[in-house]
Every structure is written in structure tokens, then in C-alpha cells.
């Protein structure tokens, strides 16, 4: 079965990003496919490559990148939410004349249409958030 996942909460905030990750992992282990994870609102903060959590703690952004690498999952940050929160990819850096980008591997920035498309393409859409 094809799944879409919506994450509305930042990493290390409550539990949504952890729940979403563990759900995605379990779904893959059960033989299902994750079509896309769409990060909205504070959820876009899951996509920073500048996070340095303590070594004995889980690295939430890296964990998403690794899962996406292994299982070909599309990780999308909402562009409007990303702009507000300073999440920048190389294209957005140029477009908005910023001096740096900070997006983690396998994440990309795109529009809300990607969430709608995930809802259409996936057989199940599940939301994690505040």
C-alpha cells in the first residue's frame, strides 16, 4: 500500500516527528511504500542540516535523510512555511538573496500542491503534529 505522511511539528518539540518516523519505518518493514513526507508549519524545521543534537540523542533530520536515501522517499518542505522559518535551499538562497542555505540531504522545498498530490497518489494519508 502507498502512504503519504504529513508532519506539522518541529523536531525535539513534542513527539510528532518521532511518531511519524517510527510509523514510516514500520510501514516500510511491513512492505508498504512511503510516497512522500510533507513537512508543514513548524514541521519544516525537520529539514535543517545544521542541527547538532547531543551524541547520545537521536539526530532527527539525519534520520529522515537516511530513511529517504534507503527507501527513495520524497521529503518536501512547504515553501511558505520554510521562508518564514529560515529554511533555505540553494534555489531559495539565490531567489531571496540570502548568504547561505541550510537544507539537509534528500529534502526539497516546494509548494502545498505537493501535499494535495500526496493525498491523491497515496492510498492513505496520515498526519502527525501538535
Amino acid at each position: 500500500m502507498i502512504f503519504g505522511i504529513l508532519v506539522n511539528e518541529g523536531p525535539y518539540q513534542h513527539q510528532a516527528s518521532d511518531s511519524a518516523y517510527l510509523f514510516a519505518k514500520a510501514a516500510i518493514e511491513e512492505g508498504h511504500t512511503i510516497f512522500r513526507v510533507f513537512f508543514y508549519h513548524d514541521g519544516v524545521n525537520n529539514g535543517t542540516r545544521l542541527a547538532t543534537p547531543p551524541q547520545d540523542d537521536r539526530h532527527i533530520p539525519n534520520r529522515w535523510s537516511e530513511l529517504a536515501n534507503e527507501h527513495n522517499i520524497d521529503l518536501v518542505l512547504c515553501v511558505a512555511a520554510a521562508q518564514r522559518r529560515g529554511m533555505v535551499d540553494p534555489d531559495e538562497m539565490k531567489r531571496n538573496k540570502k548568504d547561505a542555505d541550510n537544507i539537509a540531504e534528500k529534502f526539497r522545498i516546494s509548494g502545498l500542491g505537493q501535499l494535495i498530490e500526496a493525498g491523491v497518489q497515496a492510498e492513505r494519508l496520515i498526519t502527525f503534529g501538535d
Partner: protein, 100 residues
């Protein structure tokens, strides 16, 4: 339809709202702080027990354990499941309503 509730019923009224809207095609899964809604002898226990007459209620085991709770603290007939069980519930139910 699968309903997930992730807030404690003592913090938000999302569980109560959810329970008002369920029918016999519903399944309810309590996750994150929502697991507190599965505890026995609380101010909401009776409402949850009433809902069990209509629908099946599940609780996510890892989230229960993370809060120092286990099956012995729960209302009877609430099923404890793991993430694999969570995935299976989303497969069994065509629609998912996540109460946030």
C-alpha cells in the same frame, strides 16, 4: 475510519470530541499523550467505557511504556498494539482522522 488521538484528555478535549462522533465502523488509537485516555479510574474513564460499546479502542504500547504505564493501568478490553499494529490499522481503515 481510524481515529488517532494524541493529546491527554486532561489537557485537551479532542478525545471527548472524537468519542462523540464515532460509529460502529470506527477504530480509535490513542498515541503519544493520548494514552492517558486509556487509564482506568479517571474522570473520563466512564466515557471511554461507554464508547467501547460502539467501537474498539487501541493504545500504542511504546508510548504507554515511555510514560511508565502498562496494561495493568488500563481500562479492560483496550488493546495494546505496537507500530506494526498501528500500520495494520491504517491499512484496514480506508480513512484516517488524526485528532491533533
Amino acid at each position: 475510519m481510524l481515529h488517532t488521538v494524541n493529546k491527554s484528555p486532561f489537557e485537551k478535549n479532542s478525545l471527548e470530541t472524537c468519542l462523540r462522533l464515532i460509529d460502529d465502523n470506527s477504530a480509535i488509537l490513542l498515541i503519544e499523550d493520548g494514552v492517558y485516555g486509556a487509564l482506568k479510574n479517571t474522570s473520563i474513564s466512564e466515557t471511554v467505557i461507554d464508547a467501547q460499546k460502539i467501537t474498539k479502542i487501541y493504545v500504542l504500547g511504546p508510548d504507554l511504556k515511555a510514560r511508565g504505564l502498562d496494561k495493568s493501568s488500563l481500562i479492560s478490553n483496550i488493546e495494546v498494539i505496537d507500530y506494526k499494529g498501528f500500520v495494520n490499522l491504517t491499512v484496514e481503515n480506508e480513512k484516517i482522522q488524526n485528532w491533533l
